[in-house]
């Protein structure tokens, strides 16, 4: 069984240092059992979470998120149970000498379970954004290639990516047609930012490193470079919204000034 952050080792040391009073031993056994249960859950998440995410075809991944919320709640329940017993049943009974070892034991346990909870889903790729984007573009191409004038039946050539409904005038008979690529293609609008973030992860990592070394002010240049790359990528994904993306760029840079540099 996995041993997170040497909880068991610490537990033994704590017990040794107190000489293992009955209360310490009792708490140790109790927390040990809870810890083992948390480890079982953690292992289960490692095994199955990715397949749950993959099987969920909903663009918002609602079934997967429901599963995740349920598992997080179980980790929380374990922590609450341990904490409740420690506060209500252990602390009032402990002698001052015992208390130090007990609190060490409890803290190690708490940190260990918390780490399991926060890291349990780290390995899961919730959404394959590149694949979603590819599917959207395939759907779009299919619709675009079948798009004809409702009046004269002439083939209407579309050279821009219209992800929402748009009026297109027929070049042959001047009839106004509505080009509506459908629900799936509309999702491109919601995909643009996360996909651009994914594609600019290298720039983001550079910024993060600079930030660690130089602080918020010193890392400003690299943050700007990241934001410009991000906006450029969003322009590529959603052409026609360059002005809006520029406004968004201004907001990100302004927020950085307000919340990071002058904090």
């Amino acid at each position: 069984m996995m041993n997170f952050f040497n909880f068991n080792k610490e537990k033994n040391q704590a017990a040794d240092s107190t000489g293992g009073t009955p209360l310490t031993q009792r708490l140790q056994t109790f927390l040990g059992k809870l810890h083992a249960r948390a480890e079982e859950m953690h292992a289960e998440v490692q095994d199955s979470a990715q397949s749950v995410a993959d099987a969920d075809s909903d663009p918002f991944k609602r079934s997967y998120l429901q599963f995740k919320a349920g598992m997080i709640a179980q980790f929380n329940a374990i922590m609450q149970k341990g904490s409740g017993v420690y506060q209500k049943e252990v602390v009032p009974k402990a002698s001052p000498m015992e208390l130090m070892a007990l609190s060490q034991l409890f803290n190690d346990w708490n940190i260990s379970v918390l780490n399991m909870m926060t890291s349990a889903f780290d390995h899961v790729v919730e959404r394959d954004l590149e694949r979603e984007y590819r599917e959207i573009m395939e759907e779009y191409e299919r619709y675009k290639d079948r798009f004809h004038c409702k009046q004269c039946g002439g083939k209407l050539e579309i050279h821009t990516f219209y992800f929402t409904a748009t009026y297109i005038a027929c070049p042959y008979c001047r009839t106004q047609n509505t080009f509506d690529p459908g629900t799936k293609v509309r999702m491109a609008e919601h995909l643009a930012r996360p996909l651009a973030e994914l594609r600019c992860r290298g720039d983001y990592e550079t910024y993060k490193q600079q930030r660690k070394l130089l602080g918020a002010k010193g890392a400003e240049e690299s943050y700007r470079a990241y934001v410009f790359a991000l906006i450029g990528e969003m322009d590529n994904i959603l052409p026609g919204l360059e002005t809006q993306h520029q406004n968004f760029c201004n907001r990100l840079l302004d927020d950085y000034q307000r919340h990071e540099v002058f904090r």
Binding site: F30, R37, A73, Q74, K81, T164, A165, L241, D254
Partner: protein, 255 residues
Amino acid sequence: MFKKFFKDLSGNLEDIAKNVSKGQQDTDTNDEILKAYANGDMNKIFDVGAASAGYTTMNTATEDPNDPQLQPVHGITVFDYAAGAAKIGEGCTEEQICRALGVERPQWDEAQTTWNNRMRDDKTFNVINVYSKYFGMVKEHEKLEGLKPDNAPTTTVVSEDAAANLQRLETDKHYFFEIQAAMQAAYDNGIDGAQWLIDNLGLTVAQVNGSGTKWMNDFNTMAQMMDYQEQKKKEYSERFAKESGTGSVADDINF
């Protein structure tokens, strides 16, 4: 030389005057916050704090008819858009909204993109606060209020009961926070909270949230109801655990 000196001096005087007035503003802000604390007015504290950081709240958001960020898009106002979004959350289709507003889909789509971008790009949060206010006022929108959703979720709750539930959420804050607690408890127990609302109240998440915008934007109410919501969440959590036989994985481990 004197000219330059005077220029610098007048520049300096301007700076001093600006600093004094800024200092005065800060003092005013502090005074206001202190007064609000003394009166236990959480909302005021929040509003003043937000204003000093350059943000608006739902109470201080302004609707200047000349504000370029609030201009209608193809005649679609922020009220039309917010109420339309609320109705879509009830199960209306975009086509229904377009017909009711007398616009076509390309116009609605462009309005949607524009309003969403305005909200995202607004550094003061004014647009999103105005939007939030109208999201909860769909009943006052003359064209959209009576629209019956084409895609209403299937439920066994009769429509009169659902309407009564909605009415109660709007008028009874205890009930509103109880239902919020129930939804959280449902998710914690691996139950789809949104579906639970449909099955038990005959309402969608959008309807429930829309009904409570006035509660959720009043910090006095929020602060007052926090403990109540926690207590209710615990009760519902126990109930759901019992009903679904899920419970906590740690139930069988005892001290």
